[in-house]
């Protein structure tokens, strides 16, 4: 407890840590934070890293603070420096600044990965305090910290079950479910709750979009459909009729009851091969916001948001999981048109029959974004345009 108090009363050191840096350290941090794609800045960063990694324990906080706003390349450079310093200091018998690390951990404005690092250092030097703090971190913005906190509750629920306290276990599992963002943890919890007579509506829990309009099949012979621009990519007209692979095609309503929100194109069109189809839905957002579109599926696909191509994958029948692909995307206030193209190839093996995808909209943690309204009708802003 005295450690926790110490953490809570250490109110100034971390925030001034950057200011107290020697100029060469500040410069090294600056250089490392400038690294970018394709190795940009690597040569300069390599020299700067050596200076940074020579630091003592009092440089740990400035390096952690230096992670705030850093890109994913720079985070790795900084983390390696921090590892080197911490390992050397700990093996040399030096003390790490526990109260400052703890205070940094508790300030959720810092980068989640930096806070996780602080937590791991804290765990090394004072595991009992770290364990106590974890209990209060069920809704932490660090997914790794949250995962461990949720796991602790899952384990406690399991202990309640072992003690035949089913009601207590169900409450704990429900508490864990409310906080869990890791898909495997959610599935574990849902399975336990089902055993306890409290089934979880996973489609709703994950926020998969169940309703949409679909159109197809278009041709995908020789896997050329992935790049072929068919009318739904050019024009948003849900009343339109087009030439499909085997005749005229038009938009039709589709609804999925699949547990994980799978949109199964085999349902409306049959088990076809070398075909392409589209699914369109509108998502009404109550404000402009940055979100992630998370898609899963085994087929080739492309996704457009408000007519702009977000990403595409030309790969067939490897494997599929929830949140297989995460795409950062800007939702505008009001209606947002989401168009998905999903292709089926020529393979005939049993494991290649799937022609489907699942899609949800979340924040960066995986919390589903609830639509102000959702419809399978495109609005005036929803005209997809080709990505060419």
């Amino acid at each position: 407890m005295k450690h926790i108090l110490g953490i809570l009363v250490a109110t100034t050191l971390a925030s001034t840590a950057m200011a107290g840096l020697a100029p060469q350290f500040a410069e090294a941090l600056h250089v490392i934070r400038a690294v970018g794609p394709e190795g940009r800045g690597n040569v300069e960063a390599s020299a700067a890293w050596k200076k940074l990694a020579m630091g003592k324990a009092d440089t740990l906080l400035p390096i952690l603070e230096g992670m705030d706003g850093a890109n994913d390349y720079a985070l790795n450079w900084l983390r390696a420096a921090l590892d080197a310093i911490a390992n050397r200091e700990l093996s040399g018998g030096a003390k790490l600044p526990l109260p400052e690390l703890g205070r940094f951990l508790l300030e959720t404005r810092h980068h989640p990965r930096a806070r996780r690092l602080a937590f791991e250092l804290l765990t090394q030097i004072d595991p009992a305090t770290a364990e106590k703090l974890l209990a209060g971190m069920l809704n932490d913005p660090s997914l790794e910290i949250r995962h461990d906190a949720v796991q602790k509750v899952i384990d406690q629920a399991g202990q309640s079950l072992t003690a035949s306290n089913k009601a207590g276990a169900a409450l704990l599992f429900q508490q864990a479910l409310n906080s869990a963002r890791d898909v495997k943890q959610v599935e574990t919890i849902a399975s336990k709750l089902e055993e306890l007579g409290q089934p979880v509506d996973l489609q709703k829990h994950f926020g998969f979009l169940p309703e949409r309009k679909v159109i197809g099949p278009f041709d995908n012979t020789g896997r050329k459909g992935f790049e072929t621009v068919y009318p739904p990519e050019q024009k948003s007209d849900l009343t339109g009729e087009y030439d499909g692979k085997t005749g005229k095609v038009r938009w039709q309503q589709y609804s999925t009851k699949h547990k994980y929100g799978m949109v199964d194109m085999n349902q409306p069109y049959g088990k076809l091969k070398e075909v392409t189809a589209y699914a369109s839905t509108d998502f009404v957002s109550d404000r402009a916001q940055s979100v992630e579109l998370r898609l899963g599926g085994k087929n080739s696909w492309k996704v457009w948001l408000n007519g702009k191509l977000l990403f595409g994958r030309d790969e067939y029948h490897f494997d599929s999981e929830v949140d297989q692909y995460s795409m950062p995307a800007p939702l505008q206030s009001g209606r947002n048109a989401i168009l998905v193209k999903v292709c089926q190839n020529e393979q005939v093996e049993d494991w290649t029959t799937e022609w489907e995808f699942q899609l949800r909209i979340t924040d960066s943690l995986g919390t589903p974004i609830v639509a102000a309204a959702t419809s399978a009708q495109n609005g005036p802003n929803g005209n997809p345009t080709s990505s060419r």
Partner: protein, 401 residues
């Protein structure tokens, strides 16, 4: 081969020992140790030098440089934590560990993991690649030289069951074969900076094989393998020197012995390389020498393939004529490695078996049950053999001095 090592050392400015095991299937990329003696008795009680716990999963092989053993692992809920760990070869004590966060996709089939590819070294620095296509270059003391997030830079170069192509280092360049249906390329990364020296477009097809390095005509050549054939590339420039087109496996890798290249194609295909690095010429093909997941290995004029179930097949490397088959305790994912005339084969169930290939029809002369799933190809150094599982690293052989 000793001449090759000496030349490599001269080029690199530092000495590489014959005991070093610098990459997947060793310094010569063929699974055969340059040493003459290995442990013929695999006994956990008598010949275990040490074992060490690992912090995460891994199919990658250990690499060994002097008294240092380097291993990669992946951990965390989505295996987004990447580890590079250095142990003392002599006593198994951990010297240092560095961790990184994956910047690329980490989705893998459950059998494999993000730490599937084996790191490589020029004897002075190590480069480690992961299924996320993140690559880190560290010196032997764990100082970071550079970091590349190829998965972030080229986000479509991935597949949804996991990547596994290991790195090779040649002429100051780390060669990363990053090939999938979504995007496919091979990059030559400068060992000093990690910057692209070159980037070759490659067939857009999933590819889990690893490149090999060979020396012909006084120069090093990297051989890339894909479903459409093999390609000889100058490592410094990325210039394609020759191409051999045929249907080739995308799981087991080619192996080199003398001037012969053994290619998993139509069973097994033997190619002869010219002395000047010209396009190789086909010598024989044998459907009876078809490898499984494990890559072929050549020893004393015999070529060996191992299928997934555990049938070891021996043929004459000069003719492809099958001579004998031996049933091992399978199934197998790991490639056999060799010292002298002994093959070391470890099954997925962790049963390591020593095969004496000098016997008329081969013979299992010793085995040990490690008691854990082992999918990783073993490594050999200093008269000892290293095995790794998702949880442990074993050194079996000479006891610590």
């Amino acid at each position: 081969m000793k001449l090759f090592l000496f030349a490599l050392a001269l080029n690199s400015g530092f000495m590489i020992s014959a005991a070093d095991w610098l990459q997947f299937r060793g310094t010569s990329c063929n699974g055969v140790s340059e040493e003459t003696v290995g442990p013929t008795v695999l006994d956990i009680n008598q010949s275990l030098a040490w074992k060490a716990d690992l912090p995460g999963r891994g199919l990658s092989s250990p690499i060994i440089i002097g008294d240092r053993v380097f291993v990669t692992c992946s951990s965390g809920p989505k295996q987004q934590r990447l580890h590079v760990i250095c142990f003392n070869a002599s006593d198994g004590a951990k010297r240092w560990e560095r961790q990184f966060w994956a910047t690329g996709r980490t989705m893998c089939q459950s059998k494999t993991c993000v730490a599937a590819p084996t790191p490589a070294s020029d004897g002075q620095r190590i480069v480690a690649i992961f299924s996320s296509n993140d690559i880190v270059c560290l010196d032997l003391d764990g100082n970071l030289i550079w970091f590349r997030g190829l998965g972030r830079d080229y986000p479509n170069a991935s597949n949804s069951v996991g990547m596994s192509s290991s790195l090779v280092v040649a002429d100051g360049v780390a060669v990363a074969q990053v090939e999938s249906e979504g995007d496919a390329f091979t990059a030559g990364l400068d060992m000093n900076s990690g910057l692209n020296r070159w980037k070759l477009e490659r067939p857009r097809k999933a590819n889990w094989t690893s490149p090999i390095v060979l020396k012909r005509g006084g120069r090093e050549l990297v051989v890339l393998q894909s479903s459409k054939g093999i390609t000889g590339v100058e490592p410094a420039s990325g210039k394609v020197v020759w191409e051999y087109s045929d249907a080739v496996s995308i799981i087991p890798s080619s192996t080199m012995s003398g001037d012969m290249l053994f290619l998993p194609s139509h069973g097994l295909t033997a190619l002869q390389l010219g002395s000047g690095g010209e396009k190789p010429k086909q010598i024989w093909q044998s459907s009876q020498l078809r490898p499984g997941t494990a890559s072929p290995i050549v020893l004393e004029g015999k070529v060996f393939t191992l299928n997934d179930a555990g049938v070891l097949t021996c043929g004459a490397s000069a003719t492809g004529q099958r001579s004998w088959q031996l049933r091992l305790k399978g199934p197998f994912s790991a490639t056999p490695v060799a010292v002298g005339h002994f093959l070391y084969c470890v099954s997925e169930k962790g049963v390591a078996q020593v095969v004496d290939t000098s016997r008329p029809e081969g013979e299992i002369v010793n085995e040990v049950d490690l008691g854990e799933t082992v999918l990783s190809t073993p490594s050999i150094s200093g008269g000892a053999i290293y095995f790794r599982s998702d949880a442990r690293l074993w050194k079996i052989g000479k006891p610590p001095a």
